[in-house]
């Protein structure tokens, strides 16, 4: 599903952020990406979401070389990748329903289909009945679950999460991780960046560890 082949990333003036990173995630695999701050976790995720392009090497998503992708193809690549953020990135002036519906509206789904899928997605994260609420009145855990509902509503084959539990207490974090495992069970590939070592250790999944831009454990 996802293949990094000798990927290096260099920012002008900052040197190599990633150096010769190679790994392969199978379809339906769930993996954690860990490492100290500045180890290159976020950069690695950005390469998959085509927010950045690597300086050397190859990133293959679903067989497609992301470095070769033309700008106008990028939106369609992103529709295959559900993104989850530490700060949730919800639109505060839109209801929960509208936030979750955004990827579907963008992809051009009809009204009925949008309604059906948003409800299904909110049901999955346990927020059915909160469609009309605004993000500001929800707790942090609930907001993150709205973010997750938005990431999966389009049924993408791949989910990327950047410190999804960074702002949550341990109990909520475990809940979120459990949710991710459910997605894995239906065949979604997940890559979760986190430095919460104790939480990761509890779960029996593959761990990719970055140290100063190099993959030191896989």
């Amino acid at each position: 599903m996802l293949k990094f082949d000798n990927v290096s990333m260099r920012y002008p003036g900052a040197g190599d952020v990633l150096r010769n990173v190679s790994f392969h995630l199978q379809r339906g695999e769930m993996a954690f990406l860990t490492g100290h701050s500045g180890a290159g976790k976020s950069t690695l995720l950005k390469l998959i979401a085509v927010i950045e392009r690597c300086s050397r090497g190859q990133v293959l998503l679903d067989g497609q070389d992301l470095n070769q992708a033309k700008d106008r193809q990028v939106p369609f690549i992103r529709r295959k990748v559900g993104l989850i953020f530490q700060d949730y990135k919800l639109l505060q002036d839109r209801t929960v329903f509208d936030n979750v519906a955004l990827p579907l509206v963008i992809a051009g789904y009809g009204h009925h289909e949008v309604s059906r899928r948003v409800r299904a997605s909110l049901d999955k994260v346990g927020l059915l009945g909160k469609e009309r609420k605004y993000p500001a009145v929800l707790s942090g855990g609930e907001q993150q679950r709205v973010g997750i509902a938005r990431a999966v509503v389009n049924k993408p084959p791949m989910i990327l999460a950047d410190e999804p539990t960074g702002n949550l207490d341990p109990e909520l974090s475990a809940e979120i991780m459990h949710l991710f495992e459910q997605f894995q069970q239906v065949g979604v590939t997940l890559l979760i960046a986190s430095h919460d070592i104790s939480l990761i250790a509890q779960m029996n999944h593959r761990i990719l560890k970055l140290d100063h831009g190099q993959l030191v454990a896989s």
């Binding site: 529709r79 009809g110 289909e113």
Partner: protein
């Protein structure tokens, strides 16, 4: 071999699924139409929500547009006036004193055959005298004359298409060389002046419109730039969840459209109100000149053109900003 052929489309299927999935064609068409309708009305809603700043922008744009279109209407009115003065292209040929009326008639006939001539009118000595007596106020004095001093006059009216002043000059020189003609004259100076004034005005309208049009473009662009800045988060999130540039552009283009459209409407009212204020004194003036002139307002086509051009300027202005600014708006 067969296996290989079958495998290829199967492999591409998931990509297509994510690209165009979701409901049947009718449902998708409705969704697309709804997207446009939503962008159209939500951008209008945002304009209303920020009433004060939208109103200021629209007033500034309306003033710019009304300057250009008002000047246009002014020139259109002047052209109407110039149209009524076509008779001043008329050439008067004063024939030599020894030319008989019969020979004058023959000469007039020859002129009439010239395809460039619209009308020829012969004024005999007697007619000229009678006219002079009744209009000049020297009636009694003229009666005292022993002999009619007035020559036979042939009034020549060149065709309307005869706007080129050089051609008029050639025609006039031709007449001057004729044996029958003592003196040929045309109020050439007046024609020249009018033509050059109209030319200056016409070019002025074009230049002013270009300048003010550019102003409208950049004011709209700046307004949209501010809106883009205010809605930065929304744009970034939409990009992250796979919005195409078209999807992101759409509401801003509609905002530009509304700004341009409303500015056009406001400009129409500004110019029309100004013309209404000017109407009364102009009609009064016109009355003194045999009602030769009526105030022209925006016609139907001109109104449509005004609204169309201002809307297009609004859309183009926002497009410019989106084109150059959205590239810099990178998600983090």
């Amino acid at each position: 071999m067969m296996k290989h052929v079958n495998k290829k489309p199967g492999k591409q299927e998931p990509r297509w699924q994510t690209k165009i999935s979701g409901g049947n064609f009718v449902d998708k068409f409705h969704a697309y139409r709804n997207l446009h309708a939503h962008a159209l009305f939500s951008s209008l809603g945002r304009l209303v929500a920020s009433r004060f700043s939208s109103a200021m922008t629209i007033v500034v744009l309306a003033i710019a547009i009304s300057l250009a279109s008002g000047f246009y209407i002014l020139v259109a009115n002047l052209q109407q006036l110039a149209g009524n003065l076509e008779a001043s292209n008329q050439i008067s040929l004063f024939l030599k004193d020894d030319i008989s009326e019969a020979r004058a008639n023959k000469f007039a006939g020859i002129i009439r055959q010239n395809p460039d001539i619209q009308d020829v009118k012969l004024i005999t000595k007697e007619q000229a005298l009678a006219e002079f007596q009744s209009y000049s106020g020297f009636g009694e004095a003229v009666k005292a004359l022993e002999k009619n001093p007035l020559p036979i006059v042939i009034q020549v009216l060149p065709k309307n298409s005869f706007e080129n002043e050089q051609a008029l000059e050639v025609l006039l020189d031709d007449f001057k060389r004729s044996a029958e003609v003592d003196f040929a004259q045309m109020d050439m100076q007046w024609v020249k002046r009018l033509q050059s004034i109209m030319e200056v005005a016409r070019r002025g309208v074009i230049l002013l419109s270009l300048l003010l049009g550019a102003g409208v473009l950049f004011i709209t662009a700046n307004t949209i730039r501010l809106e883009l800045h205010n809605r930065r988060d929304e744009v970034v999130i939409a990009k992250l969840v796979g919005a195409t540039n078209g999807f992101i552009h759409r509401p801003f283009l509609y905002s530009g459209f509304w700004i341009g459209f409303f500015s056009g409407v406001a400009a129409w009212f500004i110019v029309t109100i100004i013309m209404l204020i000017l109407k009364q004194p102009i009609e009064k003036l016109s009355g003194l000149y045999d009602d030769a002139f009526h105030v022209l307002f925006f016609g139907f086509t001109e109104t449509l053109a005004l609204l169309f051009i201002s809307s297009v300027l609004g859309v183009v202005g926002s497009w410019i900003v989106l084109h150059f600014q959205l590239r810099q708006l990178k998600p983090e």
